[in-house]
Symmetry: none
Subunit: 257 residues, 2 copies
Amino acid sequence: MADRPPSPAAPPEPPAPAVILIEPQLAMNIGTTARAMLNCGLADLRLVRPKPKWPNEMAKRASSGAEAVLEAASLFDSAEAAIADLNRVFATSGRHRKMVKRIFTPREAAQTLRAEAAAGIRAGILFGPERTGLENDEMALADAAIHVPLNPHFASLNLAQAVLLIGYEWFQAGVDAKPLRLEHGDSPLASKDDLVNFFTHLERELDECGFLRLPDKRPGMVRNIRNIFQRADLTRQEVRTLHGIVTELVTKRKIRQ
Amino acid sequence: MADRPPSPAAPPEPPAPAVILIEPQLAMNIGTTARAMLNCGLADLRLVRPKPKWPNEMAKRASSGAEAVLEAASLFDSAEAAIADLNRVFATSGRHRKMVKRIFTPREAAQTLRAEAAAGIRAGILFGPERTGLENDEMALADAAIHVPLNPHFASLNLAQAVLLIGYEWFQAGVDAKPLRLEHGDSPLASKDDLVNFFTHLERELDECGFLRLPDKRPGMVRNIRNIFQRADLTRQEVRTLHGIVTELVTKRKIRQ
């Protein structure tokens, strides 16, 4: 991620899709939408006939630091005008409609958006007013619809949350699939040699204190104990800590003997 | 989706993870969290020392219809108590910490959660207070951390949005979840309660033998030691073995004293 631009409002490459809010009713929702957009590297906010006066202080406060997105937002009188420069438009809808329209999940849409953006295709996503959603005429402006798979008995999303989920998938589609990370702090993973040295130390002490006193059980017990520590992906520093624990737990005993 | 239960608050099968809010500060955020949970089929909300009085009218209004989740929420005095019955705990963190802990994306975590839930493993996800996030001691209670890949220059998420993204991935992972084969031997995974009991035992002995004698280093050392064992996915039998090891290593010392 080091090669991303330093400014939080700078659009990522390739150009991210525009977020087009049709008649948003609440200033707070415009602000939280801006925050969600910037979380996901989206910067092109377009407002069609917003109900709150614009610019708006409450929207600014609700954006929690994403003012740059609000300041750069553009205003339009119609959905047609807001999408005029775009090549590809998705509509979001929570409702099922009698409309012949391809329906994408956010994940599928994100893959399409990424692939098309890389080919120079400019895209936007339409979001309807908070209570009513998009009109059928606005749906008809879109190439396809995005439907978010959620609990079918409680699928209604806040506007900013709908923007967040779609933006999140856009962002994830641009992140190379990374394998599981282990945060090492300052210490590298222990070598197997480090580990075997610790096992030897621990088992010597366990022999001496009598924990492994039953000869026929000893091999199984040793394997079980080794498995515990094998699974922990120990760092070198942690192996040193474990050596210290064993040593200190038995030290006073030895001194007294 | 037609075979899902009719009640919106009914948990899906397999059991969904618990959402555990540590010291949530704002009633509104608890309400919007409940809404996000129900959107994603999550129903088990646990509140640890919430700042708002409880139950709370504002939380109810902010839930936009997810009152059932709020009404079923359980209250706890400590994070340890809130996770006592769980086998697997993820911590969410926006910050990078010097802590040896596996880090999952929400998508990776969701796959693990689905697979383990199918195998009967009960899970929960810890979320910290709005401004400060989880304390290191609370992070140390978790098996692994979840970090949401977002715009690195503007990654701060509202509490409910963090819950939404993780819940969303949980829900999506339900479409094609594959059960994970976990080889437990004859013993089930330890509960967090089992684990905390072992920590208490080990730390008492480490205090007594002087391993934790430097007061300013003690908290960090305790966290590091806990993290080692958190990562090992211990079974109940293995926790018994570890109790036995600690007891026997110190026994002769005590007899001689």
